[in-house]
Structure formats: C-alpha cells, structure tokens
Symmetry: T
Subunit: 146 residues, 12 copies
Amino acid sequence: MKILVLNGPNLNLLGQREPETYGRATLPEIETLARDTAKRLGADLDFRQTNHEGELVGWIQGARGTADAIVINAAAFTHTSIALRDAIAAIGVPTIEIHLSNVHARESFRHHSTISAVCRGVIAGFGAHSYVLGIQAAVNIIVTRC
Amino acid sequence: MKILVLNGPNLNLLGQREPETYGRATLPEIETLARDTAKRLGADLDFRQTNHEGELVGWIQGARGTADAIVINAAAFTHTSIALRDAIAAIGVPTIEIHLSNVHARESFRHHSTISAVCRGVIAGFGAHSYVLGIQAAVNIIVTRC
Amino acid sequence: MKILVLNGPNLNLLGQREPETYGRATLPEIETLARDTAKRLGADLDFRQTNHEGELVGWIQGARGTADAIVINAAAFTHTSIALRDAIAAIGVPTIEIHLSNVHARESFRHHSTISAVCRGVIAGFGAHSYVLGIQAAVNIIVTRC
Amino acid sequence: MKILVLNGPNLNLLGQREPETYGRATLPEIETLARDTAKRLGADLDFRQTNHEGELVGWIQGARGTADAIVINAAAFTHTSIALRDAIAAIGVPTIEIHLSNVHARESFRHHSTISAVCRGVIAGFGAHSYVLGIQAAVNIIVTRC
Amino acid sequence: MKILVLNGPNLNLLGQREPETYGRATLPEIETLARDTAKRLGADLDFRQTNHEGELVGWIQGARGTADAIVINAAAFTHTSIALRDAIAAIGVPTIEIHLSNVHARESFRHHSTISAVCRGVIAGFGAHSYVLGIQAAVNIIVTRC
Amino acid sequence: MKILVLNGPNLNLLGQREPETYGRATLPEIETLARDTAKRLGADLDFRQTNHEGELVGWIQGARGTADAIVINAAAFTHTSIALRDAIAAIGVPTIEIHLSNVHARESFRHHSTISAVCRGVIAGFGAHSYVLGIQAAVNIIVTRC
Amino acid sequence: MKILVLNGPNLNLLGQREPETYGRATLPEIETLARDTAKRLGADLDFRQTNHEGELVGWIQGARGTADAIVINAAAFTHTSIALRDAIAAIGVPTIEIHLSNVHARESFRHHSTISAVCRGVIAGFGAHSYVLGIQAAVNIIVTRC
Amino acid sequence: MKILVLNGPNLNLLGQREPETYGRATLPEIETLARDTAKRLGADLDFRQTNHEGELVGWIQGARGTADAIVINAAAFTHTSIALRDAIAAIGVPTIEIHLSNVHARESFRHHSTISAVCRGVIAGFGAHSYVLGIQAAVNIIVTRC
Amino acid sequence: MKILVLNGPNLNLLGQREPETYGRATLPEIETLARDTAKRLGADLDFRQTNHEGELVGWIQGARGTADAIVINAAAFTHTSIALRDAIAAIGVPTIEIHLSNVHARESFRHHSTISAVCRGVIAGFGAHSYVLGIQAAVNIIVTRC
Amino acid sequence: MKILVLNGPNLNLLGQREPETYGRATLPEIETLARDTAKRLGADLDFRQTNHEGELVGWIQGARGTADAIVINAAAFTHTSIALRDAIAAIGVPTIEIHLSNVHARESFRHHSTISAVCRGVIAGFGAHSYVLGIQAAVNIIVTRC
Amino acid sequence: MKILVLNGPNLNLLGQREPETYGRATLPEIETLARDTAKRLGADLDFRQTNHEGELVGWIQGARGTADAIVINAAAFTHTSIALRDAIAAIGVPTIEIHLSNVHARESFRHHSTISAVCRGVIAGFGAHSYVLGIQAAVNIIVTRC
Amino acid sequence: MKILVLNGPNLNLLGQREPETYGRATLPEIETLARDTAKRLGADLDFRQTNHEGELVGWIQGARGTADAIVINAAAFTHTSIALRDAIAAIGVPTIEIHLSNVHARESFRHHSTISAVCRGVIAGFGAHSYVLGIQAAVNIIVTRC
C-alpha cells in the first residue's frame, strides 16, 4: 500500500510563514507526523514538495502504476492550475485534496479549487492534522476499494 | 468529551436516496459507525437528524456548554442557511462541516457553503467515512485545544 | 391512483392576498376545484398547506410508496429551497410544479426555481386552473407511465 | 372559438430528433392529438410550423381579430426572439407558451424565455401532452374570460 | 394601538453572542426597553422570538386584523426569506424592518434584504436603541395614518 | 440624394400596438410624414417594412451604390441582430439608428443595441418625429460629407 | 450638544418634487420639525442644504471638533460619492444616514449606499419623520457614548 | 418659447480637444449654430457651460417655470450623475439628452447614461448638428405638447 | 461522398466587405477553391449562401440522408442562433464550423459560438483557406468514420 | 520646467485622518517635501488641493500651455470621475497618478481608477514619498521627452 | 521551411488518458503522423512536449529566427497562461493553436483561450487530425506569406 | 543594503518585443541603469530574470534574511500567480511591484494584479525609468524603516 503525499509552492516555508494561518509545524515535522500515521496504518509514504507546477504534474503522472493513492496539498496552485486537474483526471489514481487552513474563511480567490472536482474528497482547516486525516482517508479508499 | 453530530434535511432517506451519489449506508448504519468511532476515541456521541432549519439552529444553540465539539452535515441547508451560520458563530463551540458526497464535483449551487467560514474545517466526499474523519478531527481539536 | 397536492407558505391567505396577482379563489375553493378534477379523472387527492419548509420536506418524503404523483405549489420556497429539491429528487415520485401567477412576469427573483430541474414539468400562470392542469398532467403521467 | 397553434424551428423533425429529449411523437401525430383535444372542447384549430422567425411574427400578427387564443411552442426562438415578444404583446390575444421538454432541466441557455412575461402562462415538460394542456388552458381562458 | 415586535433566529442568544457586533443587552432586557417605549407612547406590545421561519410567517399572518403595526428584526432570515416577504406583502399591516448592527458595515451577504422593499422603512445600526426607534416609527405611522 | 428608410418587425402594427409606448400614428402616416420631410429637404425616399431579418439584411446590402444614407428603425432586431450590424458595417453607407420610444426608459434588454456602434448616430424617444429628425440628420451628413 | 443636519442635492425642491415618493413637506418645514425635535431633546441644530458634493465634504470636515453628531441625507450622492465616505471616515464624528423614501423599494441603483459602512446606522423610509428619528438616534449616541 | 441648452464638463475645450472624436467646432461656434436654429424656429435660447455638477443641478432646478424645454449635453456626468437625474425628474420640464460623439461606438463605460430614462429622448453622434436636432426636437415637443 | 458547404449572412459581400478582416477573395472565388479541394479529395460539393436563418435551418435539415458532412460558416448567426444549433444536433450529420477571420481576436461578442458544442470541430482564422481545411476535415471524418 | 501637483478631496485632512492608512505627514509637510524635490530637480511647483471635482477639472484644463506635467492624487475622485479623465485626455499634458496608500490592498472599490488609462503612469503605496517619486517621474518625462 | 510543433502538459499521456475525449493515438504516433504530413508538404518538423510553462515559453522564444511557423497544442495552459500569450506576441512567428478535443463541447473553463487572440487561427476537435490540419495551415501561411 | 531585482517571463526579449509598448531598452541596458541607480544610492543589486514561475518563487523565498527589499516586475505572472503572492506574503521582505508599461491602459486582463495587495506599493508606466523609481522607493523604505 503506497501513498504519495505531494506539497505545492511555499509549503517549504511552513512554521515560519504566517503561523496564525498555517500553524507552527514545519514541513519536516509534518512529514514525520505523516510517516507515523502511514506506518500505523500499514502504508508506505512518499513525501515531496516543489515550487514548480510542471514538476508537480510530473509527480502525479508518475503515480500511475506506482502509488495506490495521492494526498495533495497543492497550495497556491489549487486555485489556478488546470494542468494539475488534467493530470489527476488522467491517471485514475484516487486523489485526496487537503489544506492546512480553512480556505473558505480566507480571501475569496481561495474559495475555488480547480482540482476538487477530480479528487475523491477534500479536507481543509485542521492544520497539520489535515495530513493525518488525508492519509487515513486514502487508506480507507484503498482498503474498501470504493 | 462530548460530541454532537447533527444531520440536516433528507439525510433520513440515506441508503435509498440516489446511492450512486450518497452511498448505500443508511443513517442508522452511519450512526453505528459514528458511535464506534467515538467510543474508540473515548468520546460521547449525540446523533440527531431533522428536516427543520429552526430545529437545527436550536440544537446548535443547545451545544453551548454541553458539547465540546459539533460535527455537522447540514445537507441542503449548507448552501442557503445564514441562520445556521449565525448560530455556529454565536456559540463558540468548535464545529466541523462534513459531507458524504464531493460537493465540488456536483451542481454549481452546491459549491458554496454559507457555514464553512465559521467552521474549523471541512471534510467532503468520503461517504460514511466522512463521519469517521469528522469525529476524529473533533477529538483532535478537543484534545490539542487548537 | 393517489395524488398528493402540496401548498407552500402564505397560500392559506389566498383570496385576500393581492387578488390582482393570485386571483380571488380561496385555498378551500381551490381544494374543492382540485377534488372535483381528481374525482372526474378517477384519482384520490390528499391536499395540504404549510408555512414550514421542514414539514413540506417531510410530506414529500412521505409520498414515497404512498402516492403516485405530487403536484406542488411551493410558493416562496420555489426560489430558495434546495431541501425541497433534494427531497423530490430522492423519492422518485413524479412531481409537477405549479404556480397560480405567471412568475416570469413578476420580480426577477421569482424567475428562477430550485425545483424545476427535478420536476417532470412546470405549469404557471393560470390561476386556480393551474391546479386543474397539474392534476390532469399527473394523471396522464401515471396512466401512460412516462 | 378559434385557437391558433404555432410551432417554431426544427419541430418538423419531431419523432426523429433526439427522442429521449423530445419524445417519439411526430408533429403530424401531435397535430392529430391537438385536433382531437380541440374538437372535444368545441374549439377550431389552426396548426402551423415554420423555421422562419419572420413568418412566425406574421402569423401572430394575423391572429388579431381572427383567433381567440394562441398556443405557441416557439422552440429555439423562445430564448432569443424579442420580435416574437413584441408581436405577442402587440396583438392582445391571450397566448400560452408550451414546451415538450422540461427546459429547466436542460442547458442553462434554455432556462430563460423572452416571451414568458407577455404570455398568460407557461406549460413545459409533458411531451406531446403539453399541447393538450395548452389547448385546455386556452379554452378555459376564452370561456372564463380571465 | 397594538404593535407586534418579532425577532428571528439566534436573537435569543443576545448579550452572549458576539457582543462587539450585537451589543451586551439580552433579549429580555431589550423586551423591557421596548415595553417601556411602547407604554410611554400609549401602545400595547406583543414581543416574540423564534428560530423557525414558518412560525415567523404564521405570526405575521396573524397580525392581520389584530395588530396596527409590526416591528421586525428578521435576523438571518432578512437576507434569504421570500416567505417573510410574501407574508408582509399579503397582510397589509405597516411593517418596520430593524437591525441591531449596521448590516452594511458587515459581510456583503448581509447588505441585501429580501423584505425591505415591502416594509415601510428600515432602521439599522443603533443596537437596542433600534427597537426604540422602530416602535416610535410604528406609532408615528399609526397615528398619522401615512 | 436618395435615402432608404427601413423598418423592422411589428412596426406594421403601429397605431394599434401599445399606443402609450409607440404613439398613435400608423406606419403609413409616418411614411407620409417622412416623405414630406424628405421632399422639403430635396431628398428621394425609399420606405420599407419587414418582419424578416434576412430581408432587412438584403435591403441594407442593396443600399450599396444606390442610396446615400440609411435611416433604420430595426425594432426588436436592434437588440439581438449581429447580421444587421455586419451588413451596415460592410456597405459603407452612412446609417442612422432611430427609435419611436425612449428605449432607455423601458425594459433593460432594450438598453443595448447591437447596431449603434456601426451607425453614425442614434435618435430615440421622439415618436414619429424621430423619423423627421433621422432624415434631417441623414441629409446633413450627405450634404456636409462628414 | 450640537448636531449638524446635512442635506444633499435636490432636497431644496422637496414638497414640489414627486410628492408620492418624497412626501409633501418642504425643506423649511422639515427644518422646523427637526429644530423642534432637537430643542425637545436639548440639542443645538445646524441645518444646511447644498447641490455641491465638494461643499458637503467641506461641511463634514468642519464638524470635527464643532459637532457631536451628524445626521445626513446625502440624496443622490448616497449612491456614488466616495468623497463623502472618506470625509465621514476621516473626522470621527458619529454620523447617521437618513432617507425620506424607502430606497430599497425603488430603482436598483438606489439600493447601494457608499456611506452606510462608515456611518453608525441608517434610517430610511419614514418621510419627514426620518429626520426626527435620526436626531433622536444622534442624541442617544451622544448621551450614551456608544 | 424658451429653451435652456446646458453643457457639462470639458465642453469648453471643444475644437481643441480630440477633434477626431468631438469635431472641430468650438463651443462658441456651436452656440452660434444653436442660436441660429432657435431663432429660425422662433425660440429663445439660454446657452451655458460648467464643469461643476452642482451648478448644473442648480441650472436644471432653475428651469422650472422659466424654460419650456432643456437640451442637455451632460458630457462626463452623463454616465455617473444621479443628482442630474433627480433634478431632471423633479422639475417636470421636458429634457432632451444630446451627445456630439456616438457614445455607443466608444469605451463601454460611455454606453450607459444615468439620465436617459428621465429624458424625453436621446440624440447622439451627429457632432455640432446634434444641437440643431436637439433644439428642433425640443420645439416640436413644446409645440405639439406631447 | 457528398459535402454541403453552407454560408450565412453577408458572406455574399466577401471581397468588398472589410477586406482587412475577411480577405480579398469573393464568395465565387471561394466556391471555386472549395470545389477544387473537394474534387481533389473525391468529394461532391453543394455550396450555398443565404441571409435567412430559417433557410439555413431548412438546408441543414435537408442534409439528413443526403449529405455525408456539413461545413458551415454561419457568420453572424454563429453567435446568436439556437435554431441552427438545434438543427445540427437533430440531424446527426457530422458538421464542421469554420470562420474566415480569427473570431477570438475581434469584438468580445464574437468569442462565443452557439453551435460549436454540437459541431465536431472548429477552424477559424485562415481566410479562404479555412474552407480548404474544413473540407479536408470533413473528408477525413467521413473516411475514418470517427 | 513647471509641474502642477493636484490634490483631491479630504487630502487637506492628512496627518489627522486615519494615519495608519495615510501616514502622519500633513499636507503642508508633503508640500514642503514636494517643493524640495522639485527644487533639487530644477522644476517649478504649483501645489493645490480642493474638495470640488469641478475645480479640479478647471485646474487640469488650465495646465494646457502653462505646465509641463501634472502629478495628481485624485483621492476619492480616482474611482468615479470621468470628468477628470476627459480633462486629462483633452489637454495633452503628461499626467502622473499617485496615491499615498496602496489602493490595491484596500476595499475593492478602490482597485479601479477611471483616470489610469489616460495617465502616463501610476505610483501608489509609498506614503508622502509617492509625491517625491511622482515629481521625479514627471521631470524624467519632460527631460527625455518620452 | 521549418515548423515547430509544441505540446503542453499531460499530452505525454495521450492514448492512455481519457481516450473517449482525446482519442487513442499516443503522442509518438501523433508525432509520426505530423512528420509524415510535414515531409509530404516539404517542411522540416521539430516536435516537443513539456509539462513546464517556463520551458514552453523558452521554446517559443527560441523559434524567433529559427522557425517559419509554430503549431501549438498548449493543453491546460491554453486557458490560463498569459506568459505563453506574451511570448507568441513577442516573437512575430505565425502561430497556429490546435486542440485534439472540441474544447467548446467540454467544461466552461475550457471555452476561453488566452492565446487565441495572438495566434493566426485555431483548429479544434479533430483528434490527431488536428495536427495534420495545423501543419497544413502553417505551410499555407508560409507559402502564401499571408 | 541589498536589493533583489526580479524579472518575470519574456522580459529577456525586451528591446525587440513590441517596442511601442515596452520601450527600446534591452534587459541588459535596464540592468545597467538599475545598477547605476543602486550604486548612486549606496545599495547592492542582485538582478535576475526567469521564465519559470517556480524559480521566481524560489528566488523570493531566498530573499528572506539576505535582501533588504525586492523590486519585482512579474510580467505575465502578475495577473495569475497566487504562488508569487504567497511567497511575498510569507517572507516579510518589503516588495515593490513595477511595470514598464501602463498596464491600466492595456487589455482588461492586465488591470488586475494578484500580488499588489501584498506589496508595499506599485509603480507602472514609466518604461525603464520604472526600475529607477522602484529602486529609489526600496531604498527609501529601507532607510526610513517604514
């Protein structure tokens, strides 16, 4: 059971960047939390971050045949990238969209996501715990096959 | 640790109603699943359903001082009820919005929620498992106090 | 052959309320007209009115397995209630939307109906005769099974 | 008692054209159904079809002083023709707008009608039976003079 | 001279609920203030609160023939309820819309009121004093008959 | 000096049709008024009416090389016809848009004209006198060549 | 206790101008009514009218340190003037927006006010009595200091 | 027979200002042309220009009882001034809106006029000749009293 | 292999009409080019032009069973005609939309096509060569049957 | 080298007015800063403020032939005045738009400027230093003649 | 004669990715088809694909002086990338926009292209054959130099 | 004092690319001008250009702790990149947005900037001199610490 956790632009700054919005956990701390969750649920984790949309597209494409599910925090790309949407739609690997902050309580341009419609589900607003819930949701989808 | 799980209009029809959208689990089955989750996490559960917006408002008001968190599937009211929004904002009890279906992959009038901005977070698209994730998120908020 | 005729908020005021818009017939008079029509067509009629959206939702749910068709004048709820829409979509009983007045010749907020898309058809603008036409359409749908 | 039934563009293709949307009845079959209905109600029927907006405008103009009511299925012109609207408003003959399909359950550009506001009422979604209901509504308006 | 003062959803929480927005006065304190104002102006007061739209509609309907004016703080229903609008328009009793907070200085969805157009006037932003002004306006309308 | 005066759909009904909006003059009376104006100014008049957009397009095309100016009351086509716009733009004959009624004081869908931008100028709201002013404007353009 | 009552463009025409909308009281009569109200409440009144936005801005600026509250009927400027808004926001003197007519029951361009968000509250629709209520609200704010 | 011709902001620059848009005639030249037209038609002319909206409002108010008609080129105020609209509506003197350029062939913010709906008619696009036509239309309205 | 090439309003003016937009080729010259292309590809060509929407609808209807593909330059009707759309959707003959000019580089009202969604594909911007490409695309669809 | 620095409504309140938005410098202090900058760059400065749009229009008109450049902080008029836009476009003197605050980080109605499109450039958000930069930009334009 | 064929994100997945939308041809198969077409027409082909917007921008820039035409399937970037638009506009090499699917028959966010306005023309909806048509169009432009 | 000057996509083409819009200076010439300005003001300059959004995000992130201010010409990314916005907001280094052209005088999609709201200020329209002004503004912010 292999889960790919993908992180979009500026998430490498977590912990320092606007902690009142994104929380105080750094990305490595979140990775540790995610790995612990995955291990507890018997899943293998591949955890990555990039500021490049094209690289994110490539990673999603690479999940085809190598990962059972994707958990993605697309950050700023969430609201503008059709390329991510097309990649997710193309590969047929169940994908879960997560966000640290409650995007619906922020600026209106963060209320729309281009990828939600091609993801299985969305989890937003629980800080680092969004990753825990996302991985758990992924495992549940893989195990129940629905 | 007490969690109030509230269900809005037509959720009493679950299992029979458009199963390709909402899944095959009935509301009593979901209640059982929710109770098992709560018990496993050491929480007490109060699980209710109503077709009346006013009753839902009253239940939210009643959570003040009696519940540690609310998990709410407001169903159709999600998209139109400012009364629910005001009730949630008024009581100061952490509230988690959940949905069975991925509302963002459906009709455009389901893409907007009037209550998201006053909830802690949103979980949508995981069928009955959305309740499990919602309760878990609630417990995490209660335990970590953030 | 059983037909449920449902009336939404303020229709209990008919005859007194803005007669130039809604006509001079009272709701009891309309009920009599509707019963006569149904009797003539060999149908049984259940005729109700409520100001409560939740009660209307409950009545629609109750039609499942007990009524062959619904004729609904949702009045003000026509333009805002997604709960009614979800109830109609859920039960699979053919439903006909009717209006006394020609809603398209009135304020622009009355031009949109949240329930039309899940009803079989719409009849608007014929005063009390809209009920006669609605019942006739219902009987035709029941009899021809399409 | 004379009723003019007017049919707009492409309705001459009925029966062959997208039967899942418009039903399997051909226009001649619908004409027969309409004539039977009119005869039963003691009315004389003039039934026509054209693909030309200008011809439809001319027919509506000609109804002045020669017809007691118009039943019109303007088809595609429903959504764009202000000329039809002006003609209907100009002649003062009660006009009933009908549609075979439930236009509100189709593409959004079919949700708006330019003529509804100048018609007495609207009937949509009952297939060929929409013509029966429309003629009946017309007779009722002529007979009751309101 | 009888005045009906109606309060919509969540106003029973006043004093506790977001005092920086709604002030520190509780609803009973406001009722006392309103009663004092009415008594001083020689009017009889009927003061009620409900979280149910349907109940509010019923109370407005009941004012017909029993009250000389209505002062209504429809709270959240202000922005969404066409049923309230229709009830007010139907009964012909002069109605005054009031708000504790200055709705125009808050979220944009609070800037529009569905009922303003059928009320005599609007008073917003003066906290509990809005009730005093509303009653006074009502008395002035009753006394001057315009 | 030859001027082509073109009239769109339903203008043949003038005098009978909604006189409070369009005035009491019939189209033949307006034609007489227009001919008198033209004669007084030394111009030759060709005055036509049609309910067919295609015919109007053809008449505009025919003005090329045969008329010095066009005065057009496109009536309902004013608001929807791009074909008229393209025809006017194509032929290079100065064209003046006129309206009997003040379109800006009527329904909002009459506020926009598809042809104004390719006409020399617009005259609206002066009843039959709009034709007099339009012809005069046409003569002025022809004579001053600007 | 000093209150500045400011009147915008065209209010000098009151009594003559569209009395069905604005009432029959002239501005001098309203001034007398306002002075009586102020005197009764122990306040000093400065009552002015201008058709110049710039002059209105200057008067608002002048209130700083010289008036305890402003009651303003900005008339047509209500809907377009950001300069008034900035002036009111700049001076920190509590300001009350009033209107003779119920602006929400009129043309849609009168539904929005550029100044409401920086005023303490809004009173609209009570004719000349709006001034009485506005002054009373002003006195209440001055006296209660909130 | 007295006609007031009013000119809004920047029209004092005519002839120098963007001649390809506004023509080469200066305002004094246009005044001469207007005076000649008025004299020929037996009318008295009062011709003014101002850059101040308030002054324009005052001049319109002053027309009440002193002028039989107004011809107004409100220039930039055309698109934003509700104060002008209210003044025109208030005084009951027939008013004709004119423009030198064809505003509909220019930037989209020039397509809407706040005053058209309260004017008798609109003339646009004929350069200085728009004044001639406007005065003629005014005389026609005065003479025919309609 | 029979291909129907249809041309909408004003295309009969090609060569003379705004050559910088539409090119210098006349419609007969384009017809010759189209015939040469068809002959080279072994197809039979039927080439027509009309200014009447109704005639265009009729020609499309006539293609059913007599043509293997349609290449249509609907010109101005492209942007407004739902009747054309319905005709194309009704007949099931593969249809290719073509344009001489690059409509997306022109006025915004030319950016939307009502027929694109029911055509197989769109070719725009290549002048007379758009016809060559359109016929080639049509032949390819006929030959490959997809 | 002469530069005209123009200041719109409420800028006379600077220093006192919302210092967190506009800074603590008063307008005379800013004038001194501007004069020092101009002197350093060899330019002559004319520095003015008004609350009247008409006066601002007049000052801009007066710059024609007397000033080499204009630096304008139109304040509230920035967002609504087409008269200012027309004046700037008319005179052909290079004009630079400046703002103290970063208008794009404030209310949405401050994001649009009616004058930007006719100015050479825009400088916003640097407090009093915006004037320094604006004068410098003006000098650069005058000196480089581009 | 050198033609650069550029492919945007996710096109490397062709054949596997949603074949009902994009067809069953893989990108290498399309490249072969394109090369055959080019060879037949005497052109040299450079065929590339990338998921990186920046790389695509670089390739377009590189076409300046090295390619005679560009054929670009920008895929997801079509709808969002202004950088591509600026690059195409900057280099002056004729560019043809192509799409495999008929974008106008899909989700509404695919109906708008940011690059169409700076391309020579657009070809969409013919599957792999869109490349053949695109190359042919490119050759025609190169050869005819228009 | 270290200033990072960042340049977005296609700016490497400056001088050749549409000189009437962007000026004739090449990017190296602008770099020289910027370096001269920085040197004169005692600042160190780091000047870079990229076509990759991800690289630009990385450079902004890298400014944290290494640069005192950023001057950014984000070019096409200005209008679409939320990733840039998030990066600028995250690092807390004062950032100044500059543009060569006056974006407000160009296509409407260039009027909105996603980054303005998180920058200190904006400078647009002065060609290469925008860089001089931007650096000066940066130095002023660093020196005055506000």
